[in-house]
Each structure stands twice: as C-alpha cells, then as structure tokens.
C-alpha cells in the first residue's frame, strides 16, 4: 500500500485566526449537528486534541488550535423560547443575530449583548461576555440557568449554577474559553421589551476627567452606558452614550403599532485589499474628529434602533481588514476604581508609540461573578484597537501590562493575543482552582487551544 504524505493538505484542513487576523494555525474543521457527532469527535481525538469554535470573533488565538480538530457548531442553532417565563433554550452555535431576529418581535432581548451580534451563545458563555449593562446586570454567565456540555470523557452533562453537584463545573465553563468541554445547549433568561428602540442620552465631554466624573456620577441611573474616547486627542475627550429600552409608550403614536419591528441592515463589505497604511494617525485623527463633532453636545431621549445602539460595527461586515495584512490586536484591561489613573496612563502610552485607535471604548464594570477566569471585576475597563505592525508595540504593551497588573487589574482573554503566561497567572489568582476543576472535567487533556498553549493554561 502506498503511503500518504504527511505534508499534503487535507480537504478539511483550514487556516484559522481570530478577528485580529494574527498568528494563523492549521486545523481540521469538523462541522457537527448533533451531540453524538461531538462525542465521536472527542472519542477520536488525536494528540493535538479538540476545540469548539463559534464565529471566531475573539480577537486572538482563543478559538484556534494548530493540528487539532476544531468543532464548528454553527449548525447547532435551534431556538426554543418560553414566552411566559422568558427563558430560552438554544443550540450553542446560534448567533445573537439569529436569536434576536427570532425573539425581538416576540418582545424579548438578550440579557447581555456584546458589541457585535455575530457572536455565538457558546462563544458568549465561554468568554463570559459583558455588555453596556455590566455595572448593573453583570456578564452573560450571570444569566445562564443551565449548560449542556460534552466533557473530555465524551459524557454529556447538565451544569447548573444552583446545583451543588455541578456548580463548580458550571462556573469553570463560564469564562473557561472552551477548555472544559464542548457546550451543545444553553438555557438563559431573556429580558422583556415592549419596543425595539433604545432611548439614548448623549453627552460630549471635553476631557477624560470629565468623562470619568460624569460616569461615576450618573451611570447608576442607566441600564446601558459606554463612552467612546478620542484616543489621539491629548485631553482624552469623549462621548458618553447611555440609555435603556424605550417602552411602547415612549414611541410616537404612529410607531407604536410596529414597536417590535426588527430588521438590522444587511452588511456591507470593505474592499478586499486595503493597504495597512490607510489606517494611520492622520486618517484616524480625521475619523475621531468627525465622530466627536457628530455627537450632540447634550441630547436626551433620542430613539435608536437596537443595531445602531448595540452593534454599530456590524454595518460593515469585515472591517477588521482595514488594518491590512499584519492584522491588529485589541488591548482591553480592567482596573479597580482606586487605580483610575491607569486609564489615562494607558491612553498616553498608546499615543507615545503612535498607535492609532479609532475604537477606544471606556466602561464601568460592576461586581465580578464566581467564575474563576471571568474577566470583569468592579472598576474601569478600556479597550483599544492597535495595528500589529507598529514598531515598539510589543515592549509598550508589556509595560502597560505591568501597570495594569500592579494596579490589581487584568486583561480579557477573548481579546488577548500577546500577554505572557506570567502576566496571566499573576492577574487571575484563581487559575489553580480553575485548573483543578478543568482536570476533573477533562482528565486526558483533550481540549486545547493555541491560547491555552501560549499561556500554559
């Protein structure tokens, strides 16, 4: 019998990256549509292991695993809504996009929404995503009632936060970045809404101090709150947008009949090859200027559709390509309130290496949940996009890491693509506890990702 060359690419092998398009690795992609197929994939696992992948919206290497079987769950997308309780049970491959199309007209919204709706429920639980309401309602995991997961022994388990038997495994899976098993189904509480519009208050602030002072003063009065910061301005000026779901009564009369209409616009494409030079200090400065000026100085109760308020980036399908072939990183950290000066220091540091970021977002977090690897903790979180090709970036970000770690803060795994294993271990003090639970759930070490290898999880 003739031998097959180990160098030849198989049909099911694909190069995978995260949203930042850095550090690709080759894996066998296995689309599944049943629990049995997930179990089979785990039973047949090779030495490089298995990993679940959602829509690949994590920025770094969380949803890729070189040489492994990467399970694509997009076909596991059933939705079953209980309209009397608001509980929904979904296949974990369902996207926020499809879920909202099904539930908004029925009067229900997701309890937590990330900044894009092109994220799966599996990805949302695995990264324990946060939205603009974290300061009052916590992260996605706080709202999950049950997870069905296939563990490293191929067993299907129901994990429940209120069950002494499984609560530890439940919280290890929330924020566990796919390393405790493959979630196949999840049940969580939706929130009732009587319109698909958001009532939004906007404030323009002349500098960072004003932005932060205003957020401390009055964030608690709002369910949703976020600030955009002009990362290239010396002052750190910004625009705060805050709001809540508008009630049907808040709508003009002629809109009330169709209060729950929901139709996010089709996605536009960015041109295929944009030179990375297009995004530079000057174009970003112009963008930021326009963005700042566009915002009203002070406006109350403006009505915005869900997609405009929660998912403004989704209007351009593949905007991550504007950063060119070198890709980009998103630096997102959280620091406690006592260390609020780190926010300004971070902005200055990014300016000093000439990192143009037009997506610089500041938010306040409420209290943390019990998940050992969950990112949010009370304080300030700043997220900034930076093109990966900037000279001196690696050293500058390492210095920032130190600042964040010394302030008792940490980085978000769903965005990370470059922190050191030491940085991670020192800022997630419950890592060992998580590892013990993970080892129970996956005693053979089947679940592996490039991120797990990079950070020695």
């Amino acid at each position: 019998m003739s031998q097959q060359s180990p160098l030849r690419l198989a049909d099911d092998e694909q190069l995978l990256t995260g949203w930042g398009r850095t550090s690709p690795s080759l894996a066998k992609v296995v689309p599944v549509s049943t629990v049995e197929e997930v179990q089979k994939c785990i039973e047949e696992s090779g030495p490089r292991g298995v990993l679940a992948r959602g829509l690949g919206r994590s920025y770094g290497d969380a949803a890729q695993s070189g040489g492994a079987s990467v399970i694509d769950l997009q076909q596991m997308s059933s939705i079953s809504l209980n309209a009397s309780t608001g509980a929904v049970t979904v296949g974990t491959g369902v996207s926020f996009h499809d879920l909202l199309l099904a539930t908004v007209p029925a009067g229900f919204f997701v309890p937590v929404s990330p900044g894009t709706r092109m994220v799966t429920i599996g990805g949302a639980i695995a990264a324990d995503v946060h939205g603009k309401n974290h300061h009052v309602e916590g992260s996605f995991g706080n709202h999950v009632q049950e997870i069905k997961l296939v563990n490293g022994l191929g067993e299907l388990r129901a994990l429940n936060p209120d069950d002494a038997q499984s609560e530890e495994q439940f919280w290890a899976t929330v924020g566990g970045m796919g390393l405790t098993g493959v979630m196949t189904e999840a049940t969580f509480k939706m929130i009732p809404i009587s319109s698909s519009l958001i009532s939004v208050d906007t404030e323009r602030c002349a500098d960072l101090d004003e932005v932060m002072a205003r957020m401390i003063e009055s964030d608690s009065q709002y369910r949703y709150s976020v600030a955009w910061i002009d990362s290239l301005s010396a002052s750190g000026r910004g625009v705060i947008t805050r709001g809540d779901h508008a009630t049907r009564e808040q709508l003009p009369e002629d809109k009330r009949a169709t209060a729950l209409a929901y139709g996010p616009k089709a996605l536009a494409k960015t041109p295929g090859f944009i030179p990375s030079g297009l995004l530079n200090k000057f174009t970003v400065r112009a963008f930021n200027e326009a963005w700042y000026r566009k915002a009203p100085k002070h406006e109350q109760g403006a009505l915005q559709p869900i997609s405009e308020f929660f998912h403004p980036l989704d209007f351009v399908a593949d905007w991550n390509r504007v950063y060119g072939p070198a890709g980009f990183v998103q630096y997102q950290f959280v620091v406690p309130d006592e260390a609020s000066e780190v926010v300004g220091a971070a902005l200055r540091k990014l300016q000093s290496v000439g990192a143009p970021s037009f997506l610089t977002v500041l938010k306040r977090f409420g209290t943390a949940n019990p998940a050992p690897l969950s990112f949010p903790q009370a304080g300030w979180t700043l997220a900034a996009d930076v093109p990966a090709g900037i000279p001196g970036l690696a050293a500058a970000l390492d210095e920032l890491d130190e600042l964040v770690a010394n302030a008792g803060g940490r980085l978000y795994l769903a965005k990370d693509s470059r922190q050191s294993p030491e940085m991670f271990a020192s800022t997630y003090p419950r890592l060992k506890q998580w590892q013990r639970t993970r080892d129970q759930m996956d005693p053979k070490g089947i679940f592996k990702s490039d991120l797990a290898r990079r950070l020695s999880l």
Binding site: L9, L15, T22, S23, L26, A394, R418
Partner: protein, 252 residues
Amino acid sequence: MNDALGDPQSVLVLGGTSEIALATVRALPRNRLKRVVLAGRPSPARDAAIAALTSAGIQGVSAIDFEAKNTTEHAVLINQVFDAGDIDIVLLAFGVLGSQDEGEANPDLAVEVATTNYTGAVSVGLRVAARLKGQGHGSLVVFSSVAGDRARRSNFIYGSTKAGLDAFAQGLGDALHGSGANVLVVRPGMVRTKMTTGMPEAPMTTDPEVVANIVVAGLRKGKNTVYAPGPLRFVMTALKTLPRPVFRRLPQ
C-alpha cells in the same frame, strides 16, 4: 507559537554551535522566548554556546545530541524535541565547507561534505516539516549559500551540496504553502565565522549579526528567500546569466 506581534516562544537549532545560528537566536525578540534547544555534537563548544546564550539573558537553553550523518537517528530526535512542546522556529544551520582540493584527491571526503550538507538536511528537513505541519504553525529557516547559486571551480563540491539543499528547501516551502508552516531560505555570501577563518575575504563579506538581522526581518515579513547582505541578490542574478566561458575566466 508566535504571538500576535511575531514574538516566538521556542527555537530549535540544528547545528547548535553555528555562529550564524547563535547570532540569529540572540537577534530574535526574546520577551516570550522560553525554550531554546541546541541540537549538535557534544563538545566544549556546545557547552559554551549554552552558557553564552544563558548569560545573554535567554531562558530555557538546553542541548540535545545530533549528528547530521546518522540519519537513522533523526526520527527519534525530532519527535523527542517536538513531543516536549511546539517549536516556533527551526534553524537548519549545520554544514561543513570541506576542502575542494582534498575532496578531489580523496572523494570519500567529498562524500562526507555531501552527506552532511545535503543528505543530513533532507533527512531532518522532511521530519521537521512534517511536525511543523502537524502542529499547524512554525518556520523552518534553511541556511543555504550563494555558493549554491552557481557552482565555481574553486568550491563546487560544497557549492553543489548547497545547490541541492537550496532546491530541496524551496520545494519543501512549496509543499508547506498554506499549511501554517513555512520555509525561509537564507543565502549568505561569505560570513566571518570559524567556517571561514583564515580564508581571504571575498567582496561583500559580512558578519553573523548582519545575517541574523536579515533572517529575523525575513521571518517577520514571511519571506521565502533572503540574501545576506541583501544586494548580493543582484550580484548573483548577474553572475547566473554569465556564459560559462566568461564565468570560468572570473577570479575564483
């Protein structure tokens, strides 16, 4: 694997005492570097190389025994290194210059050069490539030479081994295209190392550190081939087009 900013975590050097390879290891970004394996024949030079890299602040430097001519041992060796953890960069840097005159007088010596530089490289090169493809990422850097671009009367034994190695490495790079793994072929001119001590310097002779920086930049940019120094590319392109009678009359 390399992180998003291109910083590697692990390096394997085949030919662990090569001055060019050691300069390359020193020139790599080292913020995330935690494992460097020097594969080579046991010698005081190998011990010294570990000590030198370690005292330069590089972590996790170790050695493993490797003889290029013992191809039957290569499978075990390469698997052992990769089973202990992914390798981001492999430097295939072993090689001997040999003596052209002695080789002509005693062909067994010429065969030694060919076995080391070509046969040995084919043996480890294929095995390394399979493991890089298997882990889904990584770079193999192959130190070829301008001597392989066109064989000269004065060193065609060595030159032909590099020509063979160069063709092999290019083919290997094509085989790995799209696999997450890649091959960088490096064609240095004359470099001031122990391989060339005592020899008259050719034009454009350079230092290991210069080659090292070119290799690191080539890796970062995902290049397939680099010359060191860079302008040698044009010199060699010109030389390759010279008719044989003219080429023969050039100073060798």
